[in-house]
């Protein structure tokens, strides 16, 4: 498997535009701003990402801490979602799902302008991406086919040799 691209490995904090997005969203909630804004403020300031060889990790929270760890090989599907505000800011959500039984995404990677690169990166490491790449080489027939052909050739050898040295009559 190819090495972790440095552009992905270096991702740690969300882009400052995420704070702008949070502010706008909080403003849209109207009076609920008083409750929503502090929550989003702390979420933005504590949000950390880590992409390593095996999986992606995400944590946030100050009083109630949450941490989501996800292995690339368990990813079932990847969604990109972006609303108007997000696109105007150049952001997008990457929603990653595993086979766990939750109806919502297991991990929502938000606040990163390189969301498309992340989607491609995750796609190349998710379940089912390289199976075909190393499982089916069109130039090479399946192992069993070749083994059967070898057995047939060995039969030819035996028949030819038996003509030179006839098998000893059964005692």
């Amino acid at each position: 498997m190819s090495a972790l691209p440095p552009a992905i490995a270096s991702i740690e904090r969300p882009h400052p535009k995420l704070w702008t997005l949070y502010l706008l969203r909080a403003l849209l909630t109207g009076p609920a701003l008083v409750v929503v804004l502090p929550v989003l403020y702390f979420r933005y300031h504590t949000l950390r990402y880590r992409f390593d060889e095996q999986g992606v990790h995400m944590r946030w929270g100050i009083l109630f801490r949450r941490e989501v760890n996800l292995t690339y090989r368990r990813i079932q599907d990847i969604h990109l979602r972006s609303g108007l505000l997000q696109r105007w800011l150049g952001l997008g959500d990457v929603l990653v799902q595993t086979a766990a039984g939750s109806a919502t995404a297991e991990m929502t990677i938000e606040g990163l302008p390189e969301f498309e690169a992340i989607r491609d990166f995750l796609y190349q490491r998710m379940r089912g991406h390289d199976e075909l790449a190393h499982g089916q080489d069109p130039g090479v027939p399946a192992l069993a086919t070749t083994l059967h052909a070898i057995a047939d050739e060995l039969d030819r050898v035996r028949i030819a040799l038996e003509r030179v040295a006839p098998p000893a009559p059964a005692p």
């Binding site: 972006s82 086979a99 199976e131 050739e153």
Partner: protein, 244 residues
């Protein structure tokens, strides 16, 4: 005029361009669009709804105002007719808007099938894109209502594992289902997806590497076996010359 409007919408909503093919699959990618029948189907359904709305809400006020005027209730009749005209006005304005929304939905809708994955992109204001690999697909179903049959389109649902927690809320679709809406040849598409699902030869759960090795042998052994075959053939030729 539509082209100019399209450019305007793309600009204002910052709609990303046509989705790219998932990396590593350029050669095998097939890009589908929703069939033109899908647009006609959506339009037909919507026009029916509009007509129903007009008959149920607009007409009673206008007819009512005439009836009331005939009864001599002039003041109430005027109020009624005003409400009627406002409803009719809103209804008329909603026509081009609704038409544009449906046509935009048709324009910004792509389905990409590669040898190992499926990508669905849809939406203008909220842009949604889903990428899944066939190794994860559990179930493929085709759904077609009577109206859809009339317009010769169907929806293909591709489901991956997971996604419990009951039915998704109305208006929301489960994240584990990719829906290819309004496909003209749904059965061919279903066969294409199923054929690619079958090729991955695992149950769609667990680590695929082990299964792959046990099922077909790893590619290195397959190549080694080819070499053994070559040598055995040479041996057979020698033995046959000996026997002659």
């Amino acid at each position: 005029m539509w082209a100019a409007f399209l450019r305007f919408v793309t600009e204002v909503c910052a709609v990303p361009p046509e989705p790219g093919v998932p990396p590593g699959a350029q050669g095998s990618a097939k890009v589908f669009r929703a069939a033109s029948g899908y647009f006609r189907y959506r339009l037909g359904l919507w026009i029916l709804g509009r007509l129903l709305l007009l008959v149920l809400f607009g007409a009673p006020f206008l007819v009512g105002s005439f009836a009331l005027a005939a009864e001599g209730e002039a003041k109430v009749a005027v109020v009624f007719s005003w409400i009627g005209w406002v409803v009719l006005g809103v209804w008329l304005v909603s026509l081009p808007v609704g038409y544009a929304l449906r046509r935009l939905d048709q324009e910004f809708r792509w389905y990409i099938v590669t040898d190992r994955s499926l990508r669905i992109r849809e939406g203008v204001v909220a842009v949604r894109e889903m990428t899944l690999t066939f190794a994860n697909v559990q179930n493929v179903s085709v759904e077609q209502g009577p109206m859809q049959r009339l317009f010769g389109v169907a929806d293909v649902h591709v489901q991956t594992a997971g996604g419990g927690g009951g039915e998704p809320r109305p208006g929301e679709q489960s994240m584990h289902v990719g829906i290819l809406r309004g496909v003209a040849d749904a059965h061919a598409l279903r066969e294409l997806v199923l054929e690619r699902v079958r090729r991955t030869a695992d149950a769609g759960l667990g680590d695929p590497d082990d299964l792959q090795r046990s099922a077909a042998g790893d590619p290195e052994s397959a190549k080694a076996a080819l070499v053994v075959l070559e040598r055995t053939r040479a041996l057979a030729r020698v033995a046959e010359r000996l026997g002659r």
